[in-house]
């Protein structure tokens, strides 16, 4: 047992989908349990942090870490597991790029507390109580883990060897990773386990030269099931999203939202979407351009749906307002100066 390579599996701020996806490798999970000495897997097995601390540094061969970093807890566990592990794997979109929880980087903690505990329609909270990190009650003090203003990805807090993209990752790639580890054929550190092309490569729809005159919301039209969705004016992030999922969403007439993250070598997936989509707008005057863009609301929410926390800017701009950092707001939608016409 002891001479078996050690494996740890842990979740930070995640939804549990990655764990379920891990079970998607079916019977192979048994080989995994057989090959490895699983030293830490809270959701399935009875080990605790003290056991983990007892393990010598670097003694764990691989840690599969899913979930983003949002609280002190998440961070300290990531830190501990990093110390104990030779190979740290950012498992799934949350750990790799922040995923949907990363959308919280559009706002700040103050906003969250204010709405969730005070303004939400069902809340009755006359005393305006909000949860505190340390709460004195009679006989003692209760504590809650510190909640950060900013969601971070795993590699923003500890070093990471491999990345497994996807929300959640598809079983075949989990398998690929696990087998690579078991056969000791690990790719060079920093590698992403997956493909280096985009979803279009796997998408069976037929594509034409792009020219977008109008964006349609998914509910506004019933798309031709054989033609490229983007060609039909339906937003699809597939052009800028790493392949590997098998183009699942387009195959049910739904545009890709980019859960596999940007393609190999891309630094900022959102910027790439901006560049590509803006380039093919069929408009040459400021007015025409703005008119088309008005049909695509919430661009940041589309372009950084999964990657906000790992994007170059990482989060929305914070301003100091009476001693607190709060999200800066730009109310009006910026329009081009009509003078740019000539």
């Amino acid at each position: 047992m002891a001479d078996k390579p050690k494996l740890a599996i842990y979740w930070g701020s995640s939804c549990g989908g990655c764990e379920i996806a891990l079970l998607g490798i079916h019977e192979v999970i048994l080989d995994v349990a057989d090959f490895f000495d699983i030293v830490f897997w809270p959701c399935a097995m009875d080990f605790k942090k003290t056991d983990l601390e007892a393990i010598p540094d670097g003694d764990i061969l691989v840690t599969l870490y899913n979930g983003a970093i949002r609280t002190d807890d998440n961070y300290e566990m990531a830190e501990l597991l990093r110390r104990k592990s030779k190979v740290m794997v950012a498992f799934g979109s949350c750990a790799m790029e922040g995923c949907i929880p990363g959308l919280a980087n559009f706002v700040d903690r103050e906003q969250m507390m204010q709405y969730i505990y005070k303004d939400a329609p069902t809340v009755v909270n006359p005393e305006g109580i909000i949860p505190l990190e340390s709460i004195p009650v009679e006989d003692g003090v209760l504590t809650l883990p510190a909640f950060w203003n900013t969601v971070k990805t795993l590699d923003q807090v500890v070093s990471v060897e491999y990345y497994l993209p996807g929300c959640p990752p598809e079983a075949k790639w989990i398998l690929a990773l696990v087998q690579a580890v078991m056969q000791g054929e690990l790719p060079p550190p920093g590698s992403v386990v997956g493909m280096n092309v985009t979803v279009c490569d796997e998408c069976p729809r037929t594509r034409e030269e792009k020219k977008i005159r109008h964006f349609y919301r998914p509910y506004e039209i019933i798309p031709d099931p054989t033609r490229c969705l983007l060609d039909q004016g339906l937003f699809c992030a597939g052009i800028a999203t790493r392949a590997g999922c098998g183009a699942l969403c387009p195959s049910v007439n739904m545009g890709c939202r980019g859960c596999y993250g940007p393609n190999e070598g891309v630094v900022d997936g959102g910027a790439k979407l901006i560049s590509a989509i803006a380039s093919v707008l069929d408009a040459e005057t400021p007015e025409e351009i703005d008119a088309i863009l008005d049909t695509l609301p919430d661009p940041a929410g589309y372009f950084y749906r999964f990657g906000l926390a790992s994007s170059i800017l990482h989060r929305t701009h914070l301003e100091i307002e009476n001693g607190r950092k709060v999200a800066a707001h730009v109310e009006a939608i910026p329009r081009l100066d009509p003078k740019l016409k000539d």
């Binding site: 903690r109 900013t150 901006i274 380039s279 040459e284 863009l293 989060r315 701009h317 730009v330």
Partner: protein, 167 residues
């Protein structure tokens, strides 16, 4: 150095930093002409020569803001005058969408601006730089790193700044 405190005290002794993307054929030559003609303008602009504004990858703009620039100025040929027919139209579309996206991230649209100047418009070039510098000066420094070093976020409820700093 020019005093930018008058526009916004947050500058203290600092000056705005603007990254410029100038197309090789029009705006870069306009800048050259401003030089040969000794038309002065604020030293805030640090420019990069690209063959055409069509080469402008929004990643560059975002990168500049993240790396400490307070604003980004993209300048090309006048519409219809692009050396490559229509690269400047592509740039206009990208900047339009980029500014909408950045606005959602709390970046004031004035921080990313687009302008045209032909090779013969040295004066126009200097005026655009002056105007942009003034707008940025009013907005104050961006210092994006502060958003990421989110020290204040580590404690609940927010403590006074000085106590946070050693948090």
């Amino acid at each position: 150095m020019a005093d930018y405190k008058q526009f916004n005290p947050a500058w203290e002794e600092k000056s705005p930093v603007i990254i410029g993307f100038l197309c090789n054929w029009c705006s870069y030559r306009a800048a050259d002409l401003a030089g040969t003609s000794r038309f002065g303008y604020p030293s805030t602009l640090r420019d990069i020569r690209i063959m055409c504004t069509g080469r402008l990858d929004p990643t560059f703009v975002i990168k500049a803001l993240r790396e400490g620039a307070d604003g980004v100025l993209v300048m090309g040929c006048h519409p219809g005058q692009c050396h490559y027919e229509e690269g400047n139209f592509k740039a206009m579309r990208r900047v339009a969408l980029l500014r909408r996206t950045l606005a959602q991230l709390g970046v004031h649209p004035d921080r990313v601006q687009l302008g045209w100047a032909s090779a013969a418009q040295g004066i126009m070039f200097t005026e655009i730089v002056k105007e942009m510098t003034e707008r940025i000066a009013r907005l104050g420094p961006l210092t994006w790193q502060d958003n990421v070093d989110d020290v204040a976020s580590l404690h609940l409820p927010p403590l006074p700044q000085e106590e946070i700093s050693h948090g």
